[in-house]
């Protein structure tokens, strides 16, 4: 099938990509646009490492044809990282030792961003529910839960 042009808003800027039908958002981000913060773990929705925000909601970019985000707003980890320093959630991850190999971190941070945007003061249970689809094989999750709670406090005092 012929390629077609898809336009969407990525990290605050309109982008236009030419893709074959059913090309995933993950492939467009990583291979066409070279934005590699969005990870490629299992490529079938089992690990959460490719999570991005589509209209503010966490979505597995490996399962989403890019045509489905035409005209919509996509935010990746690059989009929330300031030019200088770190986003408060990133800083909380850093300060709470919530990053070891780092492969799950971008997905975890985007899921927690979506959670804190709609629920600025979540309980531990709500944080666990939010990150339940994201696999971490290093930390045992404890430091990530700590980081999410710490990030909530930081964002409330900003």
């Amino acid at each position: 099938m012929a390629s077609r042009i898809v336009t969407f808003n990525l990290n605050g800027r309109d982008v236009e990509v030419m893709v074959k039908p059913l090309t995933t958002l993950q492939t467009v981000l990583r291979e066409h646009l070279r934005l590699t913060a969005t990870k490629s773990g299992c490529r079938q929705g089992g690990c959460g490492s490719c999570t991005v925000l589509v209209n503010g909601e966490p979505v597995l970019s490996c399962l989403l044809p890019v045509e489905d985000v035409a005209g919509q707003t996509v935010v990746t980890l690059e989009g929330i990282t300031p030019v200088e320093g770190l986003h408060p959630i990133q800083q909380a991850f850093f300060d709470n030792y919530a990053i070891q190999c780092g492969y799950c971190s971008p997905g975890m941070i985007m899921v927690i961003k979506a959670l804190l945007d709609r629920n600025p003061n979540p309980t531990r249970q709500e944080v666990m529910d939010a990150i339940a689809g994201n696999v971490c094989r290093c930390t045992g999750y404890e430091s990530i839960l700590r980081a999410a709670e710490d990030a909530a406090r930081r964002l409330q005092t900003v």
Binding site: Y97, M128, Y141
Partner: protein, 342 residues
């Protein structure tokens, strides 16, 4: 239907690295023109914090600030040789190699500083803040950047050092079989508390409490995170993970994260640990190592706790709900429970 609770314990003696002799690692250190000390290694940081602890060890041995050390693990093809990051070995083996390399580099650094300060190298010391000073008169000092610039552009010297560590092979006494197989051993003991649902066969780990003896801790925060992550991974092995659920047939083997059963944040038990430090004889500053070993103790501790809870000895892990339900069929505790309720 009942929830049965049980407690189990397990202890670990963990020999650091590969044993029976060998298992070498090497390190190279050189100062850049502006006095950053680059430590080149082929040892890989898997996320456990090897770069951080090696930079700490390098900074201590060189006598320079932590910020002045850069760890380069870019390429195992071109870097100095290392056997790898496994078996809780990297801090011990690589740390020793780095201390040896740092001694050689520090000697050159002090010789160059001695020329600049018009003093004897033996009379100089580092203050750990980035300066070299004359012992007894700390106002006579020179900063490390100036020393590195002078070495490169005035004296034509390389502030560098080579280091390696290898444990010599220990011969076996033909009469007694006695030998010294390992370099050092870390130890741990763990108590697991579990709850078993007799209706579903599911096991909930309530807590994992442990004591670790890992020699000197270079970075206690990173040691703690290894213990927590390892406890969780051990629990995952004990109760969930298997690549061959219907061993020996490979049919239905999981091929990806959607089918390979893992615990998630909801399964996180209470994890508590105390760390004891009995320095090793041959580790860098007394290090023994703590990494892979942290996943060992939870497996027997949890399995012992489940056996204690249901009164049946379990011998195959992971302890899936199916295995628990089958074991419950021959459990004396269950017989008592059903008789009591009848």
């Amino acid at each position: 239907m009942a929830k049965l609770r049980g407690t189990g314990i397990a202890a670990v003696n963990y020999p650091t690295g590969m044993n029976l002799g060998g298992d070498p690692s090497q390190a190279l250190i050189h100062a850049t023109t502006t006095g950053t000390f680059v430590i080149s290694l082929s040892s890989t940081d898997l996320g456990q914090g090897l770069k951080t602890v090696i930079a700490q060890i390098g900074a201590e041995a060189l006598g320079v600030p932590f910020e002045k050390v850069l760890i380069d693990t870019a390429d195992t093809d071109t870097g100095p040789h290392c056997m790898g990051t496994f078996a809780s070995r990297a801090t011990h083996r690589v740390g020793n190699a780095v201390i040896m390399a740092a001694k050689e580099a520090r000697k050159v650094m002090l010789e160059v500083a001695a020329e600049e300060l018009e003093a004897s190298p033996d009379d100089l010391d580092t203050d750990g803040q980035g300066n070299i000073y004359v012992k007894g008169s700390p106002e006579r000092k020179i900063d490390i950047t100036s020393v590195a610039l002078a070495a490169h552009f005035k004296y034509g010297r390389s502030i560098s050092g080579r280091g390696m560590y290898i444990k010599p092979k220990s011969p076996v006494d033909p009469e007694t079989g006695k030998m010294d197989p390992d370099s050092t051993e870390a130890h741990a003991c763990m108590v697991a508390e579990v709850e078993v649902d007799t209706e579903t066969g599911e096991v909930t780990v309530l807590s994992l409490k442990s004591a670790y003896e890992v020699g000197r801790q270079v970075n206690p925060a990173l040691v703690r995170e290894q213990i927590i992550g390892g406890a969780f991974m051990g629990m995952a092995h004990a109760l969930y993970e298997t690549t061959a659920p219907y061993y020996p047939s490979p049919d239905h083997a999981p091929g990806n994260f959607s089918e390979y059963i893992l615990p998630g944040p909801h399964e996180l038990p209470r994890i508590e640990s105390v760390v004891l430090e009995y320095p090793s004889v041959n580790g860098p500053y007394g290090v023994k190592g703590v990494g892979e070993m942290t996943a060992n103790a939870p497996i027997p501790a949890i399995i012992n706790a489940v056996s204690n809870a249901i009164g049946v000895r379990l011998t195959e892990f992971p302890i899936t709900p199916e295995k628990v339900l089958r074991a419950l069929e021959r459990s004396p505790k269950m017989k008592q429970l059903t008789q009591a309720s009848a």
